[in-house]
């Protein structure tokens, strides 16, 4: 470890560690890029890839993000963007859960979907994509559907959960498991020009309150579908909520939900309590 710390201190440019030095340290000392990133952050050195996070996220907070584990339930429209942004943000461990493979009708909006991976696992695509962007981030791909039966096991040790599901009943199961495990759940959902975001904190039962009168499996998306921009917007709001929850900063969408109408460009805040 002393060898690694010496290498990093010697190769730091100011308090930044260039990517090349991170790679060289890993190769020369037989370590993973992940090990090197952790050591750098612990020395209060910032991997240079994160330099534009600064002012927004300090090096100490960057270490906190690196040590965080986020589960993304669903790797489709919302999940793809959430995973992309979490990995660029520097969240150290991402559990990507989705039972499905890519189909042609995913190409209009799912950022992980490409012509070359049609028919392939969405969860595995998340791992491949993150490895291309930020190899220090560990992705745990789970090609399985979240359910009330496997939920407790899937969310063990997770700090924050991202709801990127595509149906109401599984979302309610997810919310219940998060309540039991006392994990904050960032909820997002989309349909056509519309989307909504909120964060359920333990004990608040927000998701059940929102859907208590909904007997359907799907909402407006059943007839409206989902265009390219709606998941990108809602996913980004979810990631901002996740980032704040992990760092204990700012003001969470707690017991209030944003309802976003991109057709008329209106954002309404709804009290959910």
């Amino acid at each position: 470890m002393k060898e690694l710390n010496d290498f990093l201190s010697k190769n730091a440019q100011g308090d930044l560690i260039p990517w090349q030095a991170q790679v060289q340290a890993a190769e020369e000392l037989g370590l993973s890029l992940r090990d090197v990133e952790k050591a750098a952050l612990t020395l209060n050195l910032l991997p240079a890839r994160y330099q534009r996070n600064r002012q927004t996220i300090s090096t100490a907070d960057q270490l906190k993000l690196f040590e965080s584990k986020v589960a993304v339930i669903g790797c489709g429209g919302l999940g793809g963007y959430i995973i992309e942004e979490l990995s660029r943000l520097g969240v150290g461990t991402i559990k990507a859960v989705d039972p499905d493979v890519f189909e042609e009708h995913n190409l209009n909006r799912q950022v992980l979907c490409r012509v070359s991976n049609l028919g392939k696992s969405k969860a595995r695509a998340a791992e491949v994509r993150v490895h291309e962007i930020n190899p220090a981030v560990k992705v745990i791909p789970i090609k399985d559907a979240f359910s009330r039966y496997n939920g407790m096991k899937l969310l063990e040790d997770i700090h924050v959960v991202a709801d990127a599901l595509d149906n109401v009943p599984t979302r309610i199961d997810l919310a219940r498991v998060c309540e039991t495990l006392e994990i904050p759940l960032v909820h997002g959902t989309i349909g056509g020009w519309y989307g909504q975001v909120t964060t359920q904190w333990p004990g608040e039962g927000t998701i059940q309150k929102i859907y208590r009168d909904c007997a359907e499996t799907q909402g407006v998306e059943r007839t409206l579908g989902n265009p390219a921009f709606t998941p990108a917007v809602i996913a980004s709001l979810e990631v901002a909520e996740i980032c704040k929850a992990l760092l204990d900063q700012g003001t969470s969408l707690r017991q209030r939900m944003l309802f976003i109408n991109m057709l008329d460009m209106e954002i309404d805040e709804i009290q959910v309590c």
Partner: protein, 74 residues
Amino acid sequence: MRVTTKLFATLRRGRFDIDTFDLPEGATVDDIITKLGIPENEVTLIFVNGRRADRATQLADGDSVALFPPVGGG
């Protein structure tokens, strides 16, 4: 009595964004939904004066009702 109703998202189609109309005393949220011809499964979030309500909630003069459809995609 006069009640203002605000519709969100798809509920606006062929209807309105916001409108105020007369209702008989004792009318409920359900009466508005029926009056507007909104199918039962198309409204899942109901607010009266910014507070969570349901179909059976009785309205009073000057109330403001907000109706949202369910959104569930990802």
